[in-house]
């Protein structure tokens, strides 16, 4: 299908619109009166509807369409937002997300949305509590055409065409007798009759509602009829228990009127948009010039900001990550050629050649920075789903919660970003469920009823830190210890030796859960250990600090990027290897006579402890180097957790950033080698996995 090429664009954009819908709905929940936000939401919903319809995802389109109807009333101030409407729209967003996800997974994006559509329609009709007043007020000033009987463009054109082709169109209103017991049955009989002699274009209440008895004593339809007005009236009246029926012929002029009344509504909204825009435009310059925070300027500020945000998001393009990888590969080729050119230039010794090569070197190092930065993505793309998640969690747990996000602009490698989402979800759920207490308990402890979960991201050195901090109950260490002993994670004796921080880390042990009750949010005993191993597989680490009664803080440390690491290049005879700097404690030269033999294992004394000595040449079967003959050997001290080892090497070459590459699928996972890198001379150097050297 030729639509396929647009599918990925659709998926990306639908995701963005849903995200923006979620975000703005949350904002609106904080400020339900701000029509500016409603406008933004409306536009997103509208675009999403258009996209879905174009791509043929009808369920998506129909649900967004009804959402739009609700939002339309809200932005025209005919309807006030209330918690029912918020919940319904949030449910719709979830359902939409589900459908988009289905499309992502190759599905057709179909889902049963009729229940939600009905809820939305009920809201539009003003049946939801607290909204009826506003809706009926607007309906009252247009006597014949009630708001709820507004026809959409499609229905209007159907009626128009019917009139043009000589069929008669009627507006039929049927009143059922007060003493009728089975209204729905009578209504059904009327519909049956109508269907026999023509076509019902629109009915109010909807056919489903009528079937389910959800109407008072009357209902009305727009009807394309094959029989005359008199015949129609007579035949409807033949149905028992019908009190009266009014059949009004509908002609072109009535239709135009209908169309105009709809036009008027949208005209009104356009007006509103224009005013908002004008207001923002007018206040922005004055605010900049005068810098006096007048009340009006402050009022308009959020809108201006929203407009600015939209402009910023338009300045990016989507690039397939594979293209970036290709770019990276091509660039490393270029670096190799640069090294060769530099070599040649130094041999040829011609001034202008040397100059040109130097200039090229400078340009290419700038280029390198940019190429590397291209892979970096703000963590925002992961963080932005959390406000919604925390809101829903808090609701389902009856807790009051604020999620404070800082540092969302911090950048991380795309590959890390893709993987870090799930562990974060887990930790945040953990904080919300186990950390923050119920409002009553919080009040009793003298804290504000609303708990706070802080989500922070920041750079430090070569790492990015993500912290999740709650002001809840903190980790109950005696309880943790007790459970850990009961579950066989540690023994009584071991427990006595552990520090507070080490006790805290017990919650990351496999098969551990401190929750008294199992909830569906967290606490099945699987989880935190998975979080830990996931983060470690990304080359990061996780730790936790906690104070009883005051809260806990989880800190995740991640490498800036997975594609580039700092490494020490070493030599073993003719071969070169790289050792990741993150595992190296220090380098040293040790004398042969310092190495002792302890029951067949070679060890050395290193700062008050005895650590094993590993001969890298022996482990890697080096063809042309053994350190045996040397009086003094270059040594790298490496660390894995709290274990250390001294690794004997031939020679240190240099340390620097290397581009990490895989060895390819054919060789699969090697135990000793974690990957490869390409050196300046174009040769491949293998990266040693230091963890495999420590037993």
């Amino acid at each position: 299908m030729e639509m396929n090429q647009y599918l990925s664009i659709f998926i990306d954009e639908a995701g963005e619109h849903l995200q923006s819908l979620n975000e703005n709905m949350l904002k609106l929940e904080q400020a339900p009166e701000d029509i500016g936000i409603v406008q933004v939401i409306f536009r997103s919903a509208h675009t999403l509807k258009g996209m879905s319809a174009t791509m043929g995802f009808e369920d998506l389109a129909s649900l967004t369409h009804d959402m739009e109807n609700v939002l339309d009333l809200v932005r025209n101030e005919k309807l006030k937002m209330n918690s029912t409407i918020f919940d319904t729209i949030f449910q719709c967003l979830d359902s939409l997300e589900g459908m988009v996800q289905d499309v992502v997974n190759g599905g057709t994006g179909k889902a049963d949305v009729s229940a939600l559509v009905e809820q939305l329609k009920a809201i539009v009709r003003g049946e939801a509590p607290g909204s009826s007043a506003a809706a009926s007020a607007s309906a009252s000033d247009k006597p014949m055409v009630a708001t709820e009987m507004l026809l959409d463009q499609y229905q209007l054109s159907v009626l128009e065409q019917s009139i043009d082709s000589g069929l008669s169109v009627f507006h039929v209103e049927v009143f059922i007798r007060d003493d009728c017991v089975l209204k729905a049955v009578r209504a059904y009989m009327v519909f049956d009759l109508l269907e026999k002699n023509g076509e019902v274009v629109k009915s109010h209440p909807s056919v489903q509602d009528i079937e389910q008895d959800k109407f008072e004593k009357s209902f009305s339809v727009y009807y394309i009829s094959r029989i005359s007005q008199e015949e129609l009236t007579a035949s409807i009246l033949k149905v028992s228990e019908i009190e009266s029926v009014t059949v009004l012929p509908v002609d072109r002029s009535v239709l135009e009127e209908l169309d105009q009344s709809k036009e008027a509504t949208s005209q009104q909204s356009f007006q509103a948009v224009r005013e908002t825009a004008a207001g923002a435009a007018a206040t922005a310059p004055s605010g900049a010039e005068a810098a006096k925070p007048a009340a009006k300027a402050a009022d308009a500020a959020p809108r201006t900001a929203a407009a600015g945000g939209a402009a910023a998001s338009g300045r990016t393009i989507r690039v397939d990550i594979e293209r970036l990888d290709t770019l990276m590969n091509l660039f490393s080729e270029l670096l190799i050629d640069r090294a060769r050119l530099e070599q040649l230039a130094s041999e040829v010794r011609r001034g202008d050649l040397t100059e040109t090569v130097e200039h090229m070197a400078r340009v290419s190092s700038d280029l390198q920075n940019i190429v590397l930065k291209l892979r970096m993505v703000p963590v925002e793309s992961v963080f932005n789903r959390f406000p919604r998640m925390v809101r829903d969690l808090a609701k389902s747990l009856d807790k009051k919660l604020d999620l404070v996000i800082t540092g969302a602009e911090t950048e991380l490698d795309r590959t890390v970003i893709d993987e870090i989402g799930d562990p974060l979800v887990h930790l945040i759920r953990n904080s919300v469920d186990h950390g923050v207490e119920q409002p009553a308990a919080r009040a009793a402890a003298g804290k504000s009823e609303t708990g706070t979960v802080q989500l922070r991201a920041f750079h430090s050195g070569n790492h990015v830190f993500i912290e999740i901090e709650d002001d809840g109950g903190g980790i109950n260490r005696p309880k943790v210890t007790e459970i850990a002993i009961k579950r066989g994670v540690i023994t009584q004796e071991e427990a006595k030796k552990l520090s507070d921080d080490e006790l805290n880390m017990l919650i990351f042990a496999p098969g551990f859960s401190t929750a008294d009750k199992i909830s569906d949010i967290s606490g099945r005993g699987v989880g935190l250990d998975v979080v830990k191993s996931k983060i470690e597989s990304l080359g990061g680490s996780v730790s936790v600090t906690s104070e009883l009664g005051k809260g806990s803080r989880f800190t995740i440390q991640l490498p800036l990027t997975l594609s580039i690491i700092s490494a020490m290049l070493i030599k073993l005879g003719s071969e070169k290897f790289a050792i990741p700097l993150s595992s190296i404690v220090e380098t040293a030269a040790i004398r042969r006579d310092e190495i002792r033999d302890l029951q067949g294992n070679k060890v050395i004394q290193y700062r008050n402890s005895v650590i094993p000595v590993v001969s890298l040449a022996e482990v890697l079967n080096s063809p042309d180097y053994r350190e045996d003959g040397e009086a003094e050997t270059e040594t790298v001290i490496i660390r894995k957790g709290d274990k250390m080892a001294a690794v004997l090497v031939d020679e240190f070459i240099t340390q620097g950033e290397v581009v990490l590459k895989t060895l390819g699928n054919y060789l699969g996972n090697q135990k000793l080698i974690s990957g490869a890198t390409i050196l300046g001379d174009g040769q491949v150097a293998l990266i040693v996995d230091p963890n495999s050297l420590i037993k």
Partner: protein, 153 residues
């Protein structure tokens, strides 16, 4: 109806072999190879092919033939099958020919010392030229490497 098949022809010792042209990415001259420790002997190591690290195996070693020193004619044929990219070291590679698929016969049990399961057929070209076609997915079968790796420990 016989269909035409385009194959790259290469030599190992006295025999001529063929690989379908659509499975071959490029043919390279010999280049420096970085040894990867703790791998089967026929895995010669990895090369840098324009920024991509690709493993290289010696086809002679893979088929249990005697390995020889590389010459000026030695080539590395980079093949891509089942999401695997691997380089084959061969004695020489110098021809692309068309063969009709009705000239391909089932391989005899042992051809040039190579087990039949690594072969997909033998094609007759002209009167006295035989071309042995490789069954690449069997040649690149990873389970065999895994066995060899475990054997080495």
């Amino acid at each position: 109806m016989a269909e035409e098949l385009k194959v790259i022809v290469f030599a190992l010792g006295q025999e001529e072999y063929g690989i379908e042209v659509d499975k071959v990415r490029t043919i390279e001259r010999m280049m420096p190879i970085t040894r990867v420790p703790k791998t089967p002997a026929f895995v010669k190591g990895v090369i840098n092919l324009r920024g991509i690290v690709i493993p290289v195996i010696d086809l002679r070693g893979r088929f249990g033939l005697e390995e020889t020193a590389e010459s000026d004619n030695s080539r590395i044929i980079i093949v891509a099958v089942n999401e695997l990219e691997v380089g084959f070291i061969v004695d020489s590679a110098n021809d692309v020919i068309d063969i009709m698929d009705d000239t391909i016969d089932v391989p005899p049990e042992v051809v040039g010392g190579i087990k039949a399961k690594y072969l997909s057929g033998v094609a007759k070209i002209g009167d006295n030229r035989l071309l042995i076609l490789l069954n690449l997915s069997e040649v690149l079968n990873r389970s065999e490497i895994i066995q060899l790796e475990q054997f080495g420990e």
